[in-house]
């Protein structure tokens, strides 16, 4: 069953990839959707089995074949389905199904319709490999696979130079992350002698390593990988650029699933992080810095998808704060609710873009609520959920993170609260400017704006319902012991005596008095209210419209330009790397060779001249380099 769950999307990819050209669009689309839906159903059934039936072992494990076996070096190609994988699988396939459905309508005009679905299915397959693999190497396979699919899908629509840059940036930044991840993997193998989660964690738990310095190094290296995939400082700039892809891709890959792979990695490696307070502090502060910085940038963006992109970066930062505080349940909880409302918001923005005939600038929208009632309503719910409107899903998950931050470090709590507050400002700003006020577009008349077809609004409605009630997976304890903390119990399951729990070192609920907790709740709600009232006053009552980027001054200009990080990176890394390439390249490829080759191209140089160039040109230099090399080597060795 496990194998079928994983390979259904691959099958969908193969069928669509090979025969897609000959299939009608409707069949391609529904086929792709059905493959993911099938996985979802199987995942749901397996999850029921896993949690309901006590005769089933703590995890379902399937080994397909041996990947490598030399001496005592052994790696299997194997999958495991435990409670953590199950939660991730349900999110991936559940949201995945809805987004496939949505794409049938959203992409219907596109030429490469079947290719799009093939890539989406391939992505889901790789994502499942990532979360269901039973060892770190499988995780790495999935990790690379989703990166590749993300890159293919970013490139799906935008076939211009800009796209090339965006995709290249995404790829290179992810490779830097992968570098850290791979080093971490090698270090894990070197230290614990295995890639299998169970064996590694058992050794960690048994304390087979004397010094925690190794664990800290592993944890930090893995975190570098997480930074790349989950867009944390300093590797976050690719994510907003990746929004060049079609909107469903942004919703699925760059909001709900792939970018949470870093969170999954850290939760999975909890045993290692538990032993390294230093690594956790690093995770927390980087998460905090990312969360604040992205939120600030979000304040001044005018592209509807860019706002959501920075919001995603900011929310991911929030999850890393939770991980840094050791609140793994809170982080996973936020992954779940974030998947609901961020997918909703992205799909909603897609619906707006669709209805507005590919307009993405919120300054050219306005008053859309009259034309797009369902989109308006669902977008409102998404906005309320992300900004922490009481008793919606985002409220509970964000609150849990804030509470653990408070218990851990008051300063972190304060800054995270400010970050959460800013969320309210930029989200309501976008919401009001888009849906309220007057229509401001000069290209298309207001009459042409239309609501999207039911295939697009249905997923919106489902996600809206989930965004409202999503909190039930982990209600706080003050709402009653019986119904609260389901996710907490799932993650902290003790394995029924066998060694296979997910969190090796169980979490403890933060010890905070009830009155303090209510106070924190009050603070969170009042921040929400301030943000709501301020933006409503500014953009609805006063009818303000965000000014053009060029009209920004002072801090606004810095924010609109995203703190100039792109430019800084360009100077610091891209240019310097290219300069290094140039120096290294030219050192060899000096003028004479260029002249010679150009000469051959134009045919203007005589043979004798060329030969003389060869004779007294570089070959002598090459020989000199060689002699110097030999001399240095000998000198180094003999003296």
């Amino acid at each position: 069953m496990l194998t079928l769950m994983i390979f259904l999307p691959l099958l969908g990819f193969l069928v669509n990839g090979i025969f897609g050209k000959f299939l009608p669009k409707a069949i391609s689309g529904w086929l792709g959707t059905a493959a993911v839906l099938g996985s979802f159903v199987i995942a749901l059934m397996s999850f029921m089995d896993l949690t309901g039936d006590t005769t089933i072992p703590e995890r379902i494990y399937t080994k397909l074949f041996t990947f490598l076996h030399v001496g005592n070096f052994h790696v299997d190609f194997a999958f495991q389905f435990d409670r953590l994988s199950a939660v991730m699988t349900l999110i991936i396939t559940g949201i995945g199904t809805l987004i496939h459905l949505y794409s049938i309508a959203y992409m219907h005009e596109d030429e490469g319709f079947y290719k799009f679905f093939a890539y989406l299915n391939l992505f889901i397959f790789n994502m499942l490999v990532l979360v269901l693999g039973s060892n770190y190497l499988m995780l790495f396979f999935g990790w690379e696979g989703v990166g590749l699919c993300s890159y293919l899908l970013i490139g799906f629509w935008y076939k211009n130079a800009d796209y090339g840059k965006a995709a290249r940036k995404a790829f290179v930044m992810n490779r830097i992350g992968d570098l850290g991840l791979l080093l971490g993997l090698f270090l894990i193998y070197d230290t614990y002698g295995s890639f299998e989660y169970q064996e590694v964690f058992r050794s960690v738990f048994a304390g087979s390593v004397e010094s925690n310095a190794v664990n800290t190094a592993i944890a930090l290296l893995l975190f570098i990988g997480a930074m790349g995939k989950s867009a944390q400082i300093p590797l976050y700039t690719w994510l907003p650029d990746a929004m060049a892809g079609p909107t469903p891709v942004s919703a699925l890959i760059h909001a709900a699933t792939m970018v949470t792979a870093g969170i999954y990695l850290v939760i999975r490696s909890e045993a290692i992080y538990a032993l390294s307070p230093l690594a956790r502090e690093v995770v927390m502060w980087i998460g905090l810095a990312t969360s604040l910085m992205a939120a600030l940038i979000g304040l001044k963006q005018n592209d509807i998808k860019k706002v959501l992109a920075y919001s995603t970066v900011s929310q991911l930062g929030l999850m890393f704060i939770a991980l840094g505080c050791g609140a793994y349940t809170a982080a996973l909880f936020h992954v779940i609710t974030h998947a609901f409302f961020k997918a909703l918001l992205f799909l909603g923005s897609g619906s707006v873009i669709h209805g507005m005939h590919h307009e993405q600038d919120i300054r050219h929208m306005g008053g859309l609520r009259k034309k797009m009632p369902i989109t308006y309503l669902t977008f409102l719910i998404g906005t309320l959920a992300i900004t922490g409107f009481p008793f919606l899903s985002g409220f509970f998950s964000k609150d849990e993170i804030l509470v653990s931050a408070f218990a851990h470090n008051k300063l972190v709590f304060g800054l995270a609260l400010i970050g959460a507050g800013i969320t309210g400002f930029y989200m309501f700003r976008m919401f009001f400017v888009t849906f309220h006020g007057t229509y401001r577009n000069t290209h298309h008349s207001f009459d042409k704006v239309h609501e999207s077809p039911w295939l697009m609004t249905l997923p919106l409605l489902v996600l809206a319902v989930l965004s409202v009630i999503g909190g039930v997976v982990n209600l706080p304890h003050y709402l009653g012991e019986g119904i609260s903390g389901i996710l907490h119990h799932t993650l902290n399951y003790d394995g029924g005596g066998k060694f296979s729990p997910i969190l090796i070192y169980p979490e403890h609920a933060p010890e905070i008095e009830h009155t303090t907790e209510w106070l924190l709740l009050g603070m969170a709600v009042s921040v929400f209210v301030i943000a709501f009232l301020h933006t409503r006053n500014k953009y609805v009552v006063q009818g303000a419209v965000p000014e053009a980027d060029s009209a920004q001054t002072g801090m606004g200009k810095v924010l609109a330009n995203k703190f100039y990080v792109d430019e800084a990176y360009d100077t610091a890394f891209v240019s310097s790397l290219e300069a290094a390439g140039e120096v290294v390249g030219n050192y060899v490829d000096d003028k004479a060779v260029k002249g010679l080759v150009d000469g051959v191209g134009s045919g203007s140089n005589g043979i004798s001249r060329l030969l003389s160039k060869i004779q007294n040109g570089n070959i002598e230099y090459y020989l000199v380099y060689m002699v110097i090399g030999v001399a240095l080597l000998l000198a180094f060795n003999l003296f």
Binding site: I619, Y621, N637
Partner: protein
């Protein structure tokens, strides 16, 4: 041994057949002969057949074919067979050239199976001398002439250094036989902590320089970009794959002999490896010409393989075999497509423009080849790098770090292939033929990516 005989005699036959004709149809015959050589060698390695009579012709202290030597011979013959097969349609290859390439391959066989340093020297020369001619095979092309001359001059120079090293080794140990060297008193003393005789130390350095030159590792790689670019494509491909693999096997066997005093050479060797990796990858970033990019990429791959030398204890040759196979298949794919789309003289990446529209199959095959070279899973190249890096980690972790950094940088230039093949509009209508072979190779790369151990179990 059987591969050497089959290849040598079919090459000789080819030369006579082609005395007064210049036709391309013989390349199929040559490829067939090579595949037979490969098949027989593999059969020998698996003990399915044996040719003891033949093997007794050559004294065992000169050349010996065990399981591994047979496998490497099979690999090399297989690669050359594919080169001849895939390049047969674009250029008319005279039988003289076919024969020369096969003679050169005989040198490669000797390099993988030598037991005596004289045989190694002989192998290197037999490998190299035909190559000087093959590099200049495009007689009307100045770049090709230049390549030939450069390769010859520098090759002669490095041979001199290599020979001097051999003499020193003889002076230091009193033997040229691999098996004898290790038990000579001077050597045994060094293993027991006594200072290493200067002659042996200098000998190792000088012989290594000669071999590092052949594999194009820094700082002895300067010839490679010019020679690779100027030579005809199939010669370039031959140099980048067969020469490199044969030289690394020879190198590995040579260093394995001195495994007991590894501390004497591991340090500087890994520094050279790191420099090669970084130099190759950085320089490749800014090249406008496809072949130059691939030349620097192959320099970088030589750098990765230096890691392999560091674990020279005679037990890990399968890693090199697998790496060689993966790298050769990817190179075959990329070079073959490059050759087809750019044979009208376009040297830049523009030759790949719009490949996905002209021929989706070729574009996908190209993507598979490039991803494999860059080491992205699921591909043979990833597994090869993974095996190499995970074993090297135990010997020299920091060099593995450099290797990973290098492969991260390499994405920058491998990316260019994608951009041109998938994003740009076609700028020429050079057709892509041989789609069947491209698909086969692409499929093999993916198969070795997904089920490496299953395949290795059958073959190795």
């Amino acid at each position: 041994m059987i591969a050497l005989f089959v290849t040598f005699f079919s090459a000789a036959v080819l030369l006579f057949l082609g005395l007064n004709k210049r036709e391309s149809s013989y390349s199929l015959f040559a490829a067939l002969a090579l595949f037979v050589s490969a098949g027989l060698s593999w059969a020998c390695s698996a003990n399915l057949v044996s040719f003891h009579g033949l093997e007794s012709w050559v004294p065992a202290n000169m050349m010996q074919f065990g399981k591994e030597q047979h496998l490497f011979a099979a690999l090399l013959a297989f690669i050359v067979g594919f080169i001849l097969l895939m390049f047969r349609k674009n250029e008319v290859i005279g039988n003289d050239q076919l024969g020369l390439m096969m003679f050169s391959l005989c040198g490669a066989y000797m390099m993988v199976s030598y037991q005596h340093l004289v045989m190694l020297f002989l192998g290197i020369e037999v490998l190299s001398i035909p190559l000087f001619v093959l590099a200049g095979a495009n007689k009307s092309n100045l770049a090709s002439n230049e390549a030939s001359l450069k390769y010859f001059l520098m090759g002669a120079f490095s041979t001199g250094i290599f020979l001097l090293g051999t003499a020193f080794i003889y002076g230091g140990t009193g033997s040229l036989e691999l098996e004898m060297m290790g038990i000579k008193p001077s050597f045994m003393h060094a293993m027991q902590g006594m200072p290493l005789p200067v002659l042996i130390n200098a000998g190792i350095v000088l012989m290594s320089v000669g071999l590092l030159f052949k594999v194009a590792a820094a700082p002895f790689h300067f010839w490679a970009p010019d020679v690779y670019e100027g030579s005809p494509n199939r010669t370039t491909l031959y140099m980048a794959t067969v020469v490199k693999i044969a030289a690394f096997v020879a190198f590995y066997r040579f260093l394995s002999t001195f495994g007991g005093i590894a501390d004497a050479w591991k340090g500087w060797m890994s520094v050279l490896g790191a420099i090669t990796i970084l130099w190759g990858n950085l320089a490749a970033l800014n090249q406008a010409s496809v072949k130059r990019t691939l030349a620097f990429s192959s320099i970088a791959h030589a750098g990765y393989l230096v890691m392999f030398l560091l674990m020279a204890d005679g037990t890990n040759t399968w890693i090199l075999w697998f790496y060689g196979l993966a790298y050769a298949m990817a190179s075959l794919l990329v070079f073959s497509i490059a050759n087809q789309v750019s044979f009208q003289g376009e040297r830049g990446f523009a030759a790949f423009d719009g490949l996905s529209k002209k021929s989706p199959v070729a574009a996908i095959a190209l993507a598979v080849g490039v991803l494999s070279m860059a080491g992205i899973p699921v591909s043979a190249g990833f597994n090869a790098k993974f095996y190499l890096f995970s074993f090297a980690w135990q010997h020299m972790p920091w060099l593995v770090g450099v290797g990973l950094l290098g492969s991260a940088i390499s994405v920058g230039y491998y990316f260019k292939f994608f951009k041109h093949a998938f994003m740009n509009q076609p700028s020429n209508d050079n057709p892509v033929v041989d789609r069947g072979w491209l698909m086969l190779l692409g499929g093999l790369i993916l198969l070795l990516g997904a089920l490496p151990w299953a395949v290795l179990n059958v073959i190795y």
